[in-house]
Amino acid sequence: MTTALTDARAAITVRTPAEIRRARILGILYLVLAGFVYLVFTLGADPGTSASFGLSRPTDAIAVPDATVPVRGFTVLIAVVFVFLGAMQLTRGFDKKANVVLGIVFGLFVLAFLAWAAAGKSFSLVGMLQATLVQAVPIALGALAGVLCERVAVINIAIEGQLLAGAFVGAIVGSASNIWIGLLAAVGTGVALAWVLAVLSIRYRVDQIISGVFINIFALGLTSYLTSRILVEIPDLNNSGRFLPWEIPVLGDIPVIGPVLFNNSIFVYGMFVAVIVLNFALFRTRWGLRARAVGEKPKAADTVGINVYRTRYVNVLLGGVVAGFGGAFFTLGSAGRFDENMTAGLGFIGLAAMIFGRWRPFGALGAALVFGFADSLQGKLAILQTPIPSEFLLMAPYIATIIVVAGLVGRARPPAADGQPYIKE
């Protein structure tokens, strides 16, 4: 029944000019990438060199031999695949699978790049993927906090401040008691700042961007002040220790996937759980439908009896829970101590990931993984001695986000009422 309906709908779908334009741009992009891969990566590698990718670590239960590929042959193959996909895209189009194809192209491009960069050397692919996942944690959690807020039309650019404050309180309370209580306190701090954002933007209807700027400056100023004033004096308060990776039995022994996915700290698992739960809640439950209604058309939602204010409060505070948890990652999940301004703009990358992921939990996770990958790659580039400046990779997430908001490759559309306070009549 439902499938028949979907089929019928698909049959009458008419592609808008914007979609046609996007399909054309993507097709041309694939062809350009094919040329790029051939000219730079294939011809840039010496004939006969090969790159070897490490697929397991010495400590793994089941050792997998390294995958060694000839650079020239491998990159030519990828270029050919790109030409094929580009031609398909231009002639037939992929319709609904366009995004999947785009993801595949991105993955292959990265592989071609790595083969070129690691030519003649060996390179731990597993280590790279693991670093990517860990790097993605604060970005993804920050983005989810943003999704929760913006789906009910409260713009949250205070993610950075929430992360920073969560990290700070997590470190102090974690040092004074134990890391679990520290984690709880970090979550509480995220909620407290979210409450400030909620009261300012929902009750006082202050401009939400200014509320966000305020929280960011306030959190940065206060944590820096307290660090120099207290933590420098009493170093014992800044030595919390951290959550160690916990390997899931059996699953953790699977080659390649095991060490990457199933041997992590609670923050990585928490990130996956949060994404799955939030995606289900937003798109499959009554709660999610109501929240989205409030974000798109609050007046209509109010008319059918949804309490707009309460829905907004609840979501912003839930966003605080997620952001506080993400903040704790910096201290309790990674460094084991607090340093001034240690979030270093990752909250803004989270904001970018939210936009890049089009206000959807899985989109946000995907964007966070891509951005996390770019971030961990820039650390590796120096080791591989490629001529690409690491700063270019650091700025890549921001440029990608500008491209997406500008609608050059598919348009990111925020909830319709985003940023508008609601005044009940």
């Binding site: 039309a153 401009d207 306030f218 002040y225 058309k297 007046k299 700025m395 500008i402 050059l408 940023g419």
Partner: protein
């Protein structure tokens, strides 16, 4: 996609009040325009004092051991801190000089945000525009060394104007061409500029040949903004930047209130649809507003590198682009209001440095106070509630458009 609610729905479009009015409540009359900022600053200082007291370990010890002395001790700690703040800001010719040095870039950046507010655009890209403008000014200052004094200085300033203008204009162009919200694009452009400058500082274009760290060569002495009061005391750092800031404020006043294009800026800010019906080219205006705003922020960057640092360093924008938002709010987006607010923020900065040096209170407390000023201005209801002010109900401060539209 089918699960999305109201996919085709257009956002409601109530008659749009000006962003500037909404943000600053300036239409609420003179009394409101002066009392609320004063109370906001005073309240922020009081909250700062509370933070100071509860984070002082010595005071907690006094409270435990000799509670009778507690209030006297609190008074002595707070008065020591704030008198150091005041002394560092206004207590001596050197303090005045430091205040003016700190004030000049924030005034310029504040004017940048104010121009945006007046035209209904929220420029939170000051940081990036400062970096791009400053980097271009440095480039002029280290490459065109053949030019003599006033020419090279002016050329470098022009570099700052052009660099910042292009960076701001880019956000305006994106908004006009694709509808991308300027808040998102300017935030992203901030980071692009920051990492771009880190990269540039390591290239041969900027780098000091024998050093590996990302610090540029020094600009030629002829590119510096001249120090004004070295004939009184060679230690006085106050430089031509403060004159530049006042001239810029005068220019912005003329632009906004005396020129045709300024009228169009304000008309777009008041009601973009109305401006379009009146035959104004709104797209072109978005680009010009953001170019002017960016140019002013770029000038702030040039002011920093030509007046104080004399070279490019990583992150020399130092949060000025964000402070500027508070400045524009505090000054009601009026050029002379911004100048006064800039003097206050400059005084807080200079005083904060003295507070750190003499009574060892971290200068970051000043940042907390500035943040509080921002929110008390943006949420006048907080201040009114606190002091039971009776004033005519004013509109809440809000951006009327979300960032998708």
């Amino acid at each position: 996609m089918s699960t999305d609610v109201g996919e085709q729905a257009e956002p409601d479009t109530p008659p749009e009040p000006s962003l500037f009015d909404e943000l600053t409540g300036a239409t609420a009359g003179w009394r409101q325009a002066i009392i609320v900022p004063l109370l906001a600053v005073a309240t922020a200082l009081i909250v700062g004092a509370v933070i100071l007291v509860i984070t002082d370990p010595d005071l907690w010890r006094v409270l435990r051991e000799t509670p009778g002395d507690y209030l006297a001790e609190v008074w002595s700690v707070v008065s020591a801190a704030y008198s150091a703040l005041f002394r560092g800001a206004f207590g001596s010719p050197r303090a005045w000089s430091e205040t003016l040095v700190s004030a000049s870039p924030v005034i310029l950046a504040g004017l940048s945000v104010a121009v945006g507010f007046r035209a209904g655009l929220f420029n939170i890209g000051g940081e990036g525009q400062i970096v791009v403008g400053g980097m271009l000014a440095v480039l002029v200052g280290i490459k065109l060394t053949a030019l003599p004094f006033p020419l090279l200085m002016l050329a470098a300033l022009l570099g700052g104007i052009i660099g910042g203008g292009i960076w701001g204009g880019l956000a305006g162009w994106l908004k006009a061409r694709t509808g991308a919200h300027e808040v998102i694009t300017t935030i992203m452009l901030n980071f692009v500029a920051f990492f771009g400058s880190l990269w540039l500082l390591k290239t041969d274009l900027y780098r000091v040949p024998e050093r590996a760290d990302p610090v540029s060569q020094s600009i030629a002495p002829a590119a510096r903004l001249p120090r004004l009061l070295t004939w009184i005391d060679p230690q006085l750092r106050v430089h031509g930047g403060i004159i530049l800031a006042v001239l810029a404020a005068w220019f912005v006043y003329w632009l906004l209130f005396r020129s045709t294009i300024g009228f169009e800026f304000r008309a777009v800010g008041f009601n973009p649809d109305g401006a379009r019906y009146a035959g104004m080219r709104v797209s072109l205006l978005y680009v010009s507003v953001m170019f002017v705003a960016g140019a002013l922020a770029g000038l702030a960057g040039a002011d920093t590198v030509q007046g104080v640092l004399y070279r490019g360093t990583p992150a020399f924008s130092a949060g000025i682009g964000f402070d500027a938002i508070g400045l524009a709010l505090l000054g009601r987006s009026h050029p002379w209001g911004v100048v006064l607010a800039g003097l206050l923020f400059g005084a807080l900065e200079a005083g904060g440095r003295e507070m750190q040096a003499s009574v060892f209170i971290p200068v970051d407390l000043v940042q907390v106070i500035q943040a509080l000023v921002i929110i008390f201005i943006a949420a006048p209801a907080l201040i009114r509630g606190l002091y039971r002010l009776r004033v005519a109900e004013e509109g809440p401060a809000q951006l009327t458009t979300g960032w998708g539209s």
